[in-house]
């Protein structure tokens, strides 16, 4: 644990980076056990009023647990909690909310069957003189809040009809409308476009100036470096360090999070692979709304990235190829042969596998065992007739667990007991069991800590090396740049440009400074995406 101590041995809360003398959040000696599992051990966590405080840690470090303690969902086994100077003796979601804590959950806390305005003012509805709910007032007030945030969300729309980005914004506005004094944001930028993130940051700074304490949880180091004043890092349920961001270079942060020397994504070395024949070819493929006229080739041994904003048609393209959404026109060829894909079964028969975006709903059955999830796509292979052969199931599952180094107690444990990164490996393993030639990965590292991220990226490279064609969607450009041989930018359903590595790598920078090189390339790609948005479908660089 030595490497976990703060370099100067400072104890938390006595740091010099404090902006106010009163702690908005003062949690001391918090311990929380679940059965025999110690999720938190004697953790101190202080956040000042008017401070943006990053909370960092890998999966299983205890971040969600301490946030749930703060939110009153979990009652700690030991420790004291003070919010805005008031000691909270009996914690409950209600007590926490009354004390001024508002939390934006990673798993959305909105009711899909109610409208945006109804959700924002849920339990605090505007009433008419006669005591009846007046949704018109709520809609007007919601509109004012959205205008203040400078975002376009229709207050009358059903939340279930909104995209993930708009839902996230609705959720933040809901918290803000409650005059929260402590705002907890858990991975708020995952679903947001670059410009939405800018708006969010501008807004958070406004709130900070008003004295709101903001706890910011994110796996994106670049964002934290830009927005946070201080950071607290947890690992294995223990407090590691609290320090001003200025004292925490990214390398140090990663070191504290992972617990051993690691350079995160920069660790992944890219070997140049000789490309084989074209495995997946798209010819002017269009879907119902998106994609539109997409032509694209992925060779054997190649990783092609799809970059673009939320709603640019990346996931729609993946769904069309996988037979989930219908193809309207165009041709899909696999290994040179045109194929008809009308249903997911057709794609699976053509040895195309899609690792979907929403892990929890589309990828795994969380309550089922690791083995049962891993063999879900290959039940025919592990059955004799219609009887499932348990021996074959065990063999297939063990092979994937070993091959992907999935960390699970046993193959019979429920997938829900695994960390996010390992759950994602189960989803990938499930499809690898079917031995596909073409693998489509939609946001494979969303919500996964940096240690597991580079493992997933390394896995993607290995799959390409083993002769598969990989199409990978990601909103994290650094990740695409690390994993991909080519990056296709999509915008409004069209392809808006293709960038080989030579377009992005900067010859002026020394090649061995991998981290720097990566950041420079990321800036460029970012710029290209913004450009593509301006000149709809006209930009073709290559």
């Amino acid at each position: 644990m030595d490497e976990g101590k703060a370099p100067d041995g400072k104890r938390p809360g006595k740091g010099t980076g404090m902006t106010g003398s009163i702690h908005a959040v003062d949690m001391r000696g918090i311990s929380k056990h679940f059965g025999g599992v110690k999720a938190l051990i004697d953790v101190d966590f202080q956040v000042g009023a008017g401070e943006i405080h990053a909370l960092l840690g890998g999966n299983g470090a205890g971040k969600s647990t301490i946030l749930k303690v703060l939110n009153g969902v979990h009652v700690p086994n030991a420790g004291s909690i003070e919010i805005c100077g008031k000691t909270i003796t009996e914690m409950s979601p209600e007590a926490s909310r009354k004390a001024g804590v508002a939390m934006i959950f990673q798993e959305m806390s909105l009711i899909p069957t109610l409208t945006v305005a109804q959700n924002v003012f849920l339990t605090r509805e505007a009433k008419t003189g006669t005591g009846l709910i007046d949704d018109k007032v709520a809609e007007r007030k919601a509109k004012e809040l959205f205008d203040m945030l400078e975002v376009e969300v229709n207050p009358k729309a059903l939340v279930g009809d909104l995209g993930a980005g708009q839902r996230q914004l609705t959720e933040i506005v809901k918290a803000i409308s409650q005059d929260a004094r402590v705002l907890v944001l858990d991975e708020p930028s995952t679903a947001l476009s670059v410009s939405d993130v800018e708006r969010l940051f501008a807004f958070l700074r406004k709130l900070k100036a008003k004295g709101v304490a903001i706890i910011y949880v994110s796996h994106r180091m670049d964002e934290i470096a830009r927005i946070a004043d201080r950071a607290t890092i947890l690992r294995d349920g223990r407090h590691v360090i609290t320090a001003p961001l200025a004292d925490l270079p990214i390398d140090t942060m990663i070191e504290h999070i992972v617990g051993k020397r690691s350079r995160g994504l920069a660790d992944v070395t890219r070997e140049e692979v000789d490309l084989g024949e074209p495995l997946l070819e798209l010819d002017n493929v269009s879907g119902l709304h998106k994609p539109k006229d997409v032509s694209l080739t992925v060779h054997r041994g190649e990783v092609v990235g799809l970059a673009g904003l939320l709603g640019s048609g990346r996931s729609s393209l993946a769904r069309v190829i996988a037979g989930i959404d219908p193809i309207q026109s165009g041709e899909i060829r696999v290994a040179g042969t045109p194929i008809q894909i009308a249903r997911p079964r057709d794609a699976i028969d053509a040895r195309i596998a899609l690792v979907p975006e929403a892990r929890a709903t589309q990828g795994i059955i969380a309550a089922h065992s690791v083995a049962s999830n891993l063999t879900m796509a290959v039940l025919d292979h592990v059955s004799s007739g219609s009887i499932i052969n348990n021996h074959a199931v065990r063999e297939t599952a063990d092979h994937q667990i070993k091959h992907l180094s999935i960390k699970t107690a046993t193959r019979e444990h429920a997938v829900s007991t695994l960390s996010g990164g390992n759950q994602q490996k189960v989803v990938i393993g499930k499809w690898l069991a079917a031995d596909p030639d073409i693998l489509i990965l939609d946001e494979p590292t969303a919500g996964i800590d940096i240690g597991s991220k580079s493992e997933i990226i390394r896995l993607v490279r290995d799959l390409a090396k083993a002769g598969k064609a990989v199409l990978m969607i990601s909103s994290e450009l650094s990740e695409l740049l690390t994993a991909c041989d080519r990056i296709v930018v999509m915008s409004e359903g069209h392809t808006a440009g293709t960038y080989g590595r030579h377009n992005l790598d900067d010859p002026d920078l020394s090649a061995d400074d991998a981290m720097h090189q990566l950041q420079a390339a990321e800036q460029k790609l970012q710029f290209h995406i913004q450009e593509a948005l301006k000149h709809q479908g006209t930009a073709h660089v290559h």
Binding site: R97, S109, L110, I111, T113, K136
Partner: protein, 323 residues
Amino acid sequence: MSTSETLSGPGMLARIGLANWRQNIIYIGFVVIFLIFALTLNDKGFLNPNNLLNIVRQTAMIAVMAIAMTFVLSSGEIDLSVGAVAGLASVTAAIAIDAGGMFFGVAAGLATGIAVGVFNGLLTTRIGIPSFLTTLAMMGIAKGVAMWVSDTAAVPIIEPAYSWLFGGGSIGIIPVLLIWMLVLGVIGHFVLKRTGFGRRVLATGGGETAARYSGIDTRSIKFRVLIISSMAAALAGMLYAGRLQSGRFQLGEGDELSVIAAAVLGGTSLFGGYGTVIGTIVGALMIGLINNGLILMGLEFSQQLIARGGIIILAVALSQKRS
């Protein structure tokens, strides 16, 4: 808020929830079926005001229970015990009237509903038995108790005031039952759409976790809707008893299916989150309309059952949101 803005045009339609046709197929279906019957069964007296009022009389009890069921379904729960509870309340009310007069009887009937509702609610929200099972078991228990306390015999009610108020009477040509249905319908509609309680019910059914995180005591909401449902069932039982001037355990038998069908036909989701009381009432009337029309057509009971089932499946299928 000006009346011209709220009482006309699409604003009005949106206000009472008629904007989405698929969810509101019930209104179209109601009109279509009414027209078909009016054209084909006119010579058999379908349009005779007496016949139309009879449809209302036969439907009112289903409608009363279905209004409460709309809340139960909207919260993501179900109550299968309503029919049996109606029978039980008819018996307890009749016995109590005989022993202590009208008000004692009404109190006994409502107390029966509250008792059953508390029982259903506690088992569902505190012990965590799904309401499907709790109320399925309660269906048998309520029927058994009703048979036991009445010795399986009808308990006569000799109390004209009770019979008039609960089901038998009319003001002019307007049956008291129609007034019960309309008053409860209006109250139900506003409670569901325009009060904090109604909004919490819809939120609980729309996303229980999210509702809890928003500070809603979802267990208390479910507890309360189950009590409301049992009380509505007890009231329906008392209306049956008033109309037939006796309490019998068979009253309301099998009604749970018509009640749930009425709510679902009206556009209330079986999975929670969506509910409309107006739709439910029209759904109940439509079931009454179909029953009446099939009888006038001279169909045998067996044929009625088949035709009714088919029509309900068709209507529900049309009203489903396509995924």
